[in-house]
């Protein structure tokens, strides 16, 4: 297949706008899959992905398309994750494509997640094909959505394809638009090999299977290859195309997307964004865009039953085979026993790890309040990296505390600037600059403490801008700050798992909020439960959960004792899932109570 006939593209869409359904339709229309093989939403292969409608891992699938005029094309659909936590992975997947379908729900219109990925695509010089989906919904507002898209990317009305993936409308037009508008890949087949790794997965039989896009040269079975960033050498075991399954082709040529197996046993050995070249005839330099991904958010993960620590360790070992961004090391908590301190890319990543541990590995766990890494200088002149509130030196010996700062760009229609200012002010943000991309889009450049962003910034930003603002950020540096450690006491015992490091001025409010939330989340017990928040030995907030007053079904059950027994057994089960701290039973949700500031 000549490069002229290759089209590499991705689909940019908000959750629920129909990305997976459209992908399924394209696979069907190109005969890649027949109806029998269709399992709804082929691309999202993890249960979690299907359920949440979020793509977590990148995928790629190859299709053969014959135009009505009889010309044959190869399409590679590169599916990208869709969340700011994974923005680096997104940028690498986008780099593997030359075009993007911008899919917008006719009833919902353009949403924030779409915009931030769209800008990344435009930055990567992708050609955008706008598609309005679900045009046959009664609530569709095709004209207004057309208008939004035209404003957003400055296209002509005729360029927008109208479709309903669910009912097969517009599929042929989309296929033709891909042929006509997405440019073929560029690159020099005779130049030294440069292939981009845009994701890796672990297979228990084959080891690491990487997704690659060949930019220059070609890669074949048996080639000696070098990963240019990590400087590791391997021999190619197998390369090929990704259809529904892997199809071995022995060679991937310039411009093509495929998979690579080279005997690596751990996804950590192969970094997303690295460049593969031939060991004997290396390219002069790697492809641009590589970044070392570092965890931004840390939290403790503990088994609810302390006896399950070993199981949890084994589960984490298996989980990281397929998740190179997660790091973990053992730690202990006086309230929760043995567990692990884990580092995540962001809050969504943390939630995903938690859910995978619970669902794929059947672990019952508690995740503690997430925090960032502080730099604390003590009076003896030593510097400490504090990734866990329990490691915070006592206030008396602190010389200074520094917290991580991010460079954030918020892109928004100007009418929401007031709301955003209010929010960023509340989040201790410093406005550095305001510029206008065009009259309808302002770019607000902020310095924000990362700790404030990991709490609930993204959700609140979306809500105050009705989903129109997008956020992108990168690490900026450390800044001295007045941070204090806030402890939570339950019936006088400190619950170290709930300790947080907060800004001094926010400590009171935060302590009050946590106490109030815990009061709602801790069920009434046989005795009164007192919840306190304190800095050092000074108590700044107090709430209490009254003792159980009545817990008996005063009902005539007749002879249906089975039902009564099952009800009691269910309650007993519920109790088992709670964590016993002193004599108090605390539900798992309580440990997440501090995550979201409102409600």
């Amino acid at each position: 297949m000549s490069m002229e006939n290759i089209r590499n593209f991705c689909i940019i869409a908000h959750i629920d706008h129909g990305k997976s359904t459209l992908a399924d339709r394209l696979l069907e229309a190109t005969g890649t899959l027949d109806k029998r093989q269709m399992q709804a939403q082929v691309l999202d292969s993890m249960d979690l992905e299907r359920e949440r409608g979020i793509t977590i891992k990148s995928h790629a699938i190859r299709m053969n398309y014959k135009t009505p005029e009889g010309k044959s094309y190869v399409f590679n659909l590169v599916d990208t994750p869709g969340h700011v936590d994974f923005s680096y992975e997104v940028s690498r997947s986008l780099a593997a494509a030359e075009g993007a379908l911008l899919l917008v729900d006719a009833a919902q219109g353009v949403e924030a997640q779409t915009i931030s990925t769209l800008y990344q695509a435009i930055d990567n010089d992708l050609i955008i094909i706008p598609v309005i989906n679900k045009i046959d919904l009664p609530s569709a507002e095709v004209d207004s959505v057309k208008h939004q898209i035209m404003e957003l990317i400055g296209c002509e009305e005729e360029e927008i394809v109208l479709a309903s993936a669910k009912n097969g409308i517009g599929i042929e037009e989309i296929l033709q638009a891909i042929v006509e508008r997405v440019p073929p890949p560029m690159g020099d087949p005779n130049a030294p090999l440069q292939a981009l790794i845009f994701d890796s997965q672990f297979d228990s039989y084959r080891g690491v299977i990487s997704l690659v896009k060949v930019f220059n040269g070609e890669i074949q079975d048996g080639d000696g290859i070098t990963f240019m960033i990590t400087d590791r050498d391997y021999e190619v075991e197998e390369v090929g195309n990704l259809l529904l399954k892997r199809v071995r082709t022995k060679k991937i040529s310039t411009g093509e997307v495929g998979y690579l197996i080279c005997g690596a046993k751990n996804v950590r050995d192969i970094k997303v964004g690295d460049t593969v070249t031939h060991t004997k005839k290396p390219a002069p330099k790697p492809l641009p865009g590589y970044r070392q991904v570092k965890p931004m958010v840390f939290a403790g993960i503990y088994p609810v039953d302390t006896q399950d620590f070993e199981n949890l360790r084994v589960s984490l070992e298996k989980l990281v085979l397929n998740d190179s961004s997660l790091i973990y090391e053992p730690e202990t908590s006086s309230a929760l026993g043995f567990g692990f301190r884990c580092g995540f890319l962001g809050l969504l990543h943390m939630e995903i790890v938690q859910e995978r541990l619970e669902r794929e590995f059947d672990q019952t766990i508690i995740v503690t309040t997430p925090n960032v890494v502080y730099k604390v200088t003590t009076t003896d002149g030593e510097m400490h990296f504090v990734d866990n509130p329990s490691k915070m030196p006592e206030p008396g010996v602190q010389e200074k505390v520094e917290e991580p700062l991010i460079d954030a760009h918020i892109i928004t229609p100007p009418e929401y600037i007031g709301n955003i200012m209010k929010l960023t002010n509340d989040k201790r943000g410093i406005l550095k600059n305001t510029s206008y991309i065009d009259p309808s889009r302002a770019d607000l450049h902020y310095h924000l403490p990362l700790a404030e962003v990991v709490f609930d910034f993204f959700d609140r930003l979306k809500s105050v801008t009705r989903g129109y603002a997008s956020l992108d950020y990168e690490f900026h540096g450390y800044m001295e700050s007045k941070m204090v450690k806030l402890d939570i006491f339950i019936n006088g015992e400190v619950l170290d798992a709930l300790s947080v490091i907060v800004h001094k001025e926010k400590a009171y409010e935060h302590g009050r909020m946590i106490c109030q939330k815990l009061r709602k989340l801790i069920p009434r017990q046989m005795f009164e439960v007192v919840i306190q928040a304190g800095i050092g030995s000074k108590i700044i907030a107090r709430e209490s959960v009254k003792a159980l007053r009545k817990n008996v079904l005063a009902k005539c059950y007749g002879g249906d004792i089975t039902r009564k027994r099952k009800l009691l057994e269910k309650q007993k089960e519920g109790k088992k899932r709670m964590k016993q701290v002193g004599r108090v039973e605390i539900p798992q949700e309580a440990f997440l109570a501090v995550l979201s500031a409102d409600d």
């Binding site: 159980l548 008996v552 079904l553 002879g559």
Partner: protein, 376 residues
């Protein structure tokens, strides 16, 4: 030795469905005759398995058993007598709706053999009766009660409902006092529970009704216990109060883990460590029995652990509590063997009391019986 047991007959008919009630009943009264026919078949089919049991209680519940005609009741009784061994000194109860009773009917109940009448009064306040969807009036309660005495019922229960939306201390006190003035032998006092599937539950989900919450419920409950105790009613079970020795012997069979046989749609049985129940559908019940087969919905044989747990939580509901010797002889081990830690903890928290022969809830444990049971 012949084991003693109880016999329950579920009569699944009501004039109208009360919006809070989740017992199985329907309003298609023209199917009563089909039901009676099917019930007679079930009696015959069950007879062989229960030949050695002496039934010391028979309880007609529902639904509204008082909707059955005198002739229908007679036929059922004859079949029961013909097929089962029934203790002539037994307790024979029938539940009734005060709006469906008159003197001839009550006399017919007596003639059929019933010696205990249970009246679903619920409240003595007209607005509350309307709210609960009851068809009877306060005047009918008084008339029916008087007629029941006249017909010769010397053991009468009054059901009262409490802790429902709209009730006040005053209205509840009024209901309690009105019930006391009638001097019934027994009073049952239930709190409203929003059961899934009922109209009240849907109304709760829609936000039209809200439960009073445990603090309020507790106050009503304690008010009932206090007022009734003052008038000589002994709270022998969480929801049940009796004068003298007029406890409900049938319900005690449930709480004391004795065997019972339930007949009719949705009725449950407990026999030889097995619990089973009939289908909760009159049409399915009738269909099966027409074919000469039982209409069972489920059957589960309880493990030793299940049996122990049931025994514990059921007997804790009784004022006298759990009989330690009986437990030991039933399960071949003392209660302490398995539950030493729970017992110590509950004693330390003053939730239970331990006497030479019994373990029972303390005053403060009484209101949190379910939470106490969860320790076992």
């Amino acid at each position: 030795m012949n084991p003693d047991g109880g016999l329950y007959i579920h009569v699944p008919f009501c004039h109208t469905k009360c919006e809070y009630c989740d017992f199985y009943s329907i309003t298609l009264l023209d199917q009563i005759e089909d039901f009676v026919e099917a019930l007679l078949r079930e009696i015959e089919l069950r007879a062989a398995d229960f030949r050695e049991v002496t039934f010391t209680t028979v309880f007609f519940g529902g639904g509204t058993p008082s909707l059955l005609s005198a002739a229908q009741l007679r036929r059922i009784w004859e079949a029961l007598q013909a097929n089962f061994r029934i203790d002539p000194q037994g307790e024979f109860s029938i539940e009734s709706n005060p709006g469906t009773l008159d003197l001839p009917k009550l006399q017919a109940f007596r003639e059929a053999g019933f010696n205990r009448l249970s009246m679903g009064v619920q409240s003595f306040n007209p607005q509350e009766l309307k709210f609960l969807g009851r068809i009877h009036s306060v005047a009918e309660v008084y008339n029916s009660f008087e007629n029941a005495r006249m017909a010769g019922f010397s053991n009468i229960n009054i059901d009262l409902m409490t802790a429902f939306p709209g009730i006040t201390r005053e209205t509840f006190r009024h209901s309690l006092e009105a019930a006391l003035a009638l001097e019934s032998e027994h009073i049952s006092c239930y709190t409203l529970i929003f059961e899934p599937g009922t109209v009240f539950y849907k109304r709760m989900l829609r936000g039209e009704l809200s439960p009073l919450g445990e603090d309020e419920e507790a106050l009503y409950y304690e008010l009932a216990a206090e007022v009734l105790a003052k008038h000589g009613y002994r709270q022998y079970e969480i929801s049940n109060f009796a004068r003298g020795d007029h406890v409900c012997r049938h319900n005690l069979i449930y709480w004391k883990h004795r065997p019972y046989l339930g007949l009719g749609p949705s009725a449950h049985s407990f026999w030889q460590n097995t619990r089973f129940g009939n289908k909760r559908s009159l049409s399915a019940y009738v269909r099966h029995l027409k074919k000469g087969e039982l209409a069972e919905d489920f059957r589960e044989t309880l493990s030793q652990d299940d049996l122990m747990f049931e025994y514990i939580f059921l007997s804790l509901r009784l004022r006298e509590g759990l009989d330690l010797e009986d437990f030991h002889s039933r399960f071949g081990q003392p209660l302490h063997t398995r539950h030493q830690a729970a017992i110590e903890r509950l004693l330390a928290d003053n939730l239970i009391e331990l006497t030479d022969h019994h373990l029972r809830l303390s005053r403060s444990g009484w209101m949190v019986a379910d939470a106490v049971a969860e320790y076992f």
